[in-house]
Symmetry: C2
Subunit: 480 residues, 2 copies
């Protein structure tokens, strides 16, 4: 290393302190900055660009499945929030209340939306009258506010960005189908765009969304063995329709209540990427959502023709549709290597005088630092292949971590010893369906129910807690 080389500041090692490692990354990769409002953050350009890429891909998937975007107000009058009993009980304790407009006290206070079911219901009551008006397949991209006590960047913040889909259908069957369809869209997105394997399943009764008949979720396992709920999809039945008096006249001229769903993913997914793929050198980004997919770094750039050649490679890759950045700044190559590793750029392309002579460059994949010599004749194809390698490598690594940390247990003791010996992870264990047992497992072992996976296995015939006949295999874990 050159004598006066500027160093990229090191981050805490993930094995030493995972929580500190996480916050080091969000700050040093310049994803966020704190503000003077507790629990609210600035999402900086590099962090926001990740979200924009997620939005673009998801929005395309929503539109392909027939959804349209709308925009509801950010305020909900208290009386409107109060209309559905379970819903208000779930959300009222954690909403922010607007009580003054300018200098005047409001006649009725307004909450800042924690979620928008009530607003969509009010709207649907206005526009849905006949079976011809159904279904409505709406989505919105907005921010919502929940007055959390404990906050962490991306994972749990008082304001966060999300999309919320809200649909309304003539029949229960259609609505249930929609709920499942969108859960599958989320799972596909996580696996194909975020390189993050997920388990699809149903939440237990105690863990349902406030006001839902059934909540489905995708659950991912983070590097430290903790679970993260990565997306949810809710089936509401006709409960909201009844509470908000939404009715339609069917083909047979009878008046009926329609059935509703809602579904959402949030900026929390950025936290999931960090904790699924990151390492001690910083962030590692899946190519599909990386703001910069390829960084081109000239080696010995003071030598004649090097920067020009690097620029040429950069232009060729841009033209081929990659998101590319050339760093021809005066920092050392070593500093640049560390900097773009910290920022998680999936692929580095190095080009120096010797490479130019040999009509080649060097590619280095972020996640495994694998070096490859690539003929310049073949640059675009090689970069495409290497980015695919990064995606596949990330997915395989994440899946391997999850499999290593998934424990099938037939008793409370087995759960305890599996967690003690191998650390946190997913526990597969049978359950009788009784809420008391669910609570007791958590109390005794520290892991709570994450979901009842669609793909069931028969670990044993008996509930892991009470020994009575089991109804479901549940995945248990400690949750973010």
């Amino acid at each position: 290393m050159a004598k006066n080389e500027k160093m990229v500041e090191a981050i805490t090692s993930m094995d030493e302190d995972f929580a500190k490692w996480y916050t080091d990354i969000v700050k040093k990769a310049e994803l966020i900055e704190y503000t003077s409002v507790k629990g609210c953050m600035v999402i900086r350009p590099y962090g926001y660009a990740i979200w924009e890429n997620m939005q673009r891909i998801l929005d395309g998937m929503f539109k392909e499945t027939g959804h349209e975007n709308v925009c509801m107000p950010m305020f909900i009058p208290e009386s409107l929030l109060n209309k559905e009993k379970d819903h208000v009980e779930g959300f009222a304790p954690e909403v922010a209340w607007v009580t003054y407009g300018g200098n005047e006290k409001l006649e009725e206070r307004l909450c800042v939306r924690p979620t928008s079911e009530t607003l969509f219901c009010e709207h649907y009551a206005n526009i849905v009258h006949s079976y011809r008006d159904l279904p409505k397949l709406y989505n919105q991209w907005v921010s919502v506010v929940r007055w959390e006590k404990t906050t962490r960047p991306f994972l749990r913040s008082r304001e966060f960005l999300w999309q919320e889909g809200h649909t309304i259908h003539a029949t229960a069957e259609e609505a249930i189908e929609e709920t499942e369809r969108m859960l599958n869209v989320y799972a596909k997105f996580c696996e194909e765009s975020l390189a993050m394997p997920v388990v699809k399943g149903r939440k237990t009764e105690s863990d349902k969304f406030a006001g839902a008949v059934a909540t489905y979720a995708i659950e991912a396992l983070m590097h430290d063995g903790k679970a993260l709920q990565a997306g949810t999809s809710h089936y509401f039945g006709d409960g909201f329709a009844k509470a908000f008096d939404i009715q339609y006249t069917d083909k047979d001229n009878t008046v009926k209540y329609p059935h509703q769903t809602s579904w959402g993913v949030t900026t929390r997914l950025i936290g999931a990427i960090i904790m699924t793929h990151g390492d001690d050198n910083g962030l590692v980004l899946p190519p599909a959502v990386a703001p910069v997919q390829v960084v081109v770094i000239p080696i010995a750039q003071h030598k004649e023709g090097v920067i020009e050649k690097a620029q040429e490679l950069c232009d060729r890759l841009k033209k081929a549709g990659f998101r590319v950045k050339l760093d021809a700044s005066e920092n050392t190559a070593g500093w640049k290597f560390s900097e773009y590793e910290m920022k998680g750029v999936p692929l580095r392309v190095e080009i120096g005088p010797k490479d130019i002579e040999s009509n080649q460059c060097v590619t280095v994949t972020r996640h495994d630092r694998k070096k490859t010599f690539v003929s310049l004749d073949n640059l675009e194809e090689a970069v495409k292949q290497e980015l695919k390698n990064v995606h596949d490598g990330l997915y395989a690594k994440a899946l391997e971590n999850r499999e290593k940390r998934t424990y099938s247990c037939a008793s409370i003791d087995e759960i305890k010893s599996a967690l003690e010996q191998n650390g946190d992870g997913f526990v597969k264990a049978m359950w009788c369906g009784d809420e008391e047992c669910e609570d007791k497992v958590k109390e005794l072992t520290g892991v709570g129910s994450r979901c009842i996976p669609f793909e069931q296995e028969n670990i044993s015939d008996k509930c892991v807690c009470c020994g009575k006949p089991a109804k479901h295999m549940v995945i248990w874990g400690k949750a973010y």
Copy 2:
């Protein structure tokens, strides 16, 4: 017309009642729906799709000029809002205040952002230290809240969507250049994407943004002769930097205050489109932002092969990159004509059995109902040309209206009689620069200063009000 033909409900004529015509359109073209929160609206899919198209084009223009998107919190602590004196005076009377989080009263109340200068300043104070950190060229797409007394959809609502650019520069020159650059971007967007001619100019002192050194604006003239401020760009000097203690160390090792700008356009532009291009048959959309650019309507669709052929045309046009919709519903062709005229679809393509025989279709442009027979061999090229004709036709019509309604006046009496004889419009008249005269012109004639256009003319040498030597030609008008 067939006996039992369903009719598209007529709207109020614009000459009869322009305000009612406007609200009829926003409702019947399904752009918005009212909500139970006064002054807040639902932007429906068709309205939101217009905004998405605007966003896509503008966001591309911002990125081409080097800007990056970020996301700031929606809340501003009262003490932060209070830091810049003029700014807080301008905004405090019209902000919504959050005073409770859940059941707990907040120690300090938070306002919902009416604009985000203060948040950007707090952030810049954290991240700007050296000349190397400058400039920062940031933008965000969010909604803001201003507690207006009188509201109208898109034109003045308590919550509205916008983008707000916030930049910070080493020198005043760079910041002023940025302010002008973004005003030019807005003008280009209005003219090339919205087919709306605008006047670029500077606001008078009394009409500046709260906290700005100078405010630039683009002003458009609506069909009824009223002016609409379509976008603004502010130069702040170093006033905010001083108030928020943002400093940087320059190359020469001295500590300096940076210079800032901000600039924004809002969903108000949708209102501008309606009032610039709309007619008694409904909305008329400029092709660049129309959610549906071409509607294909089969004629005598019960005849064999008609719907199939219409579908084929639709597929061809989609493939060629147009936003196309086929309406093969059971409504009559007459109903469909009216419906898509109401929704302002720029081009209609009709195809019936006789057309199929002759290997042709009929195109009808929305703004002038001009019919053209088009060979199917030449469909894509013809549609491209017709959409260009719509854009050019809309622009020419809007410009003609503005020219017809622009009056050069050398005295108060001339202003009065021009407005009386020809109706509302832009008045060009000279001004001495004195705020008293500005107020008096408004009091005596009803028109206020809109801007001091960059393109000056010499209507006379004297102030239209006091007769003293004139400093500027001002454009005066009644404003939305």
